[in-house]
Subunit: 81 residues, 2 copies
Amino acid sequence: MKARVTVTLKNGILDPQGKAIEGALKSLGVAGIASVRQGKVFDIELAADADKAKAEAALKDAADKLLANTVIENYRVEVLG
Amino acid sequence: MKARVTVTLKNGILDPQGKAIEGALKSLGVAGIASVRQGKVFDIELAADADKAKAEAALKDAADKLLANTVIENYRVEVLG
């Protein structure tokens, strides 16, 4: 079973990395970019026989404990099946 | 106009960071995780009046030049509108 956890910064949290990328894209001549915010994505393989609810619970557990800093980050769990 | 560029490692490329996360999740007692691969996600705001085709071209340009190392990474561009 495949799943994806996407972790992004909460609104209002400053993203210096995103700002640096914005500047670099401008200097590289890439047009039309107003703002960039960087996040993380985790592609996770679960045991084949795991049922969807258990998988979702395990992924939320993983995100809360390790993958995301829930003080400044949001996460989204997608069980792709 | 909002868009998202998702950058992930190509198949077969070793992901030590993903391996480290796998180990950490096991030691944290998160059950059922077989493998983890980490990638990057960029939430990009484009000029409001940009048309979709031009936006897509600019994002591909940004990914090729900066956001992805196309030797070892794949990227996917989604213009969300």
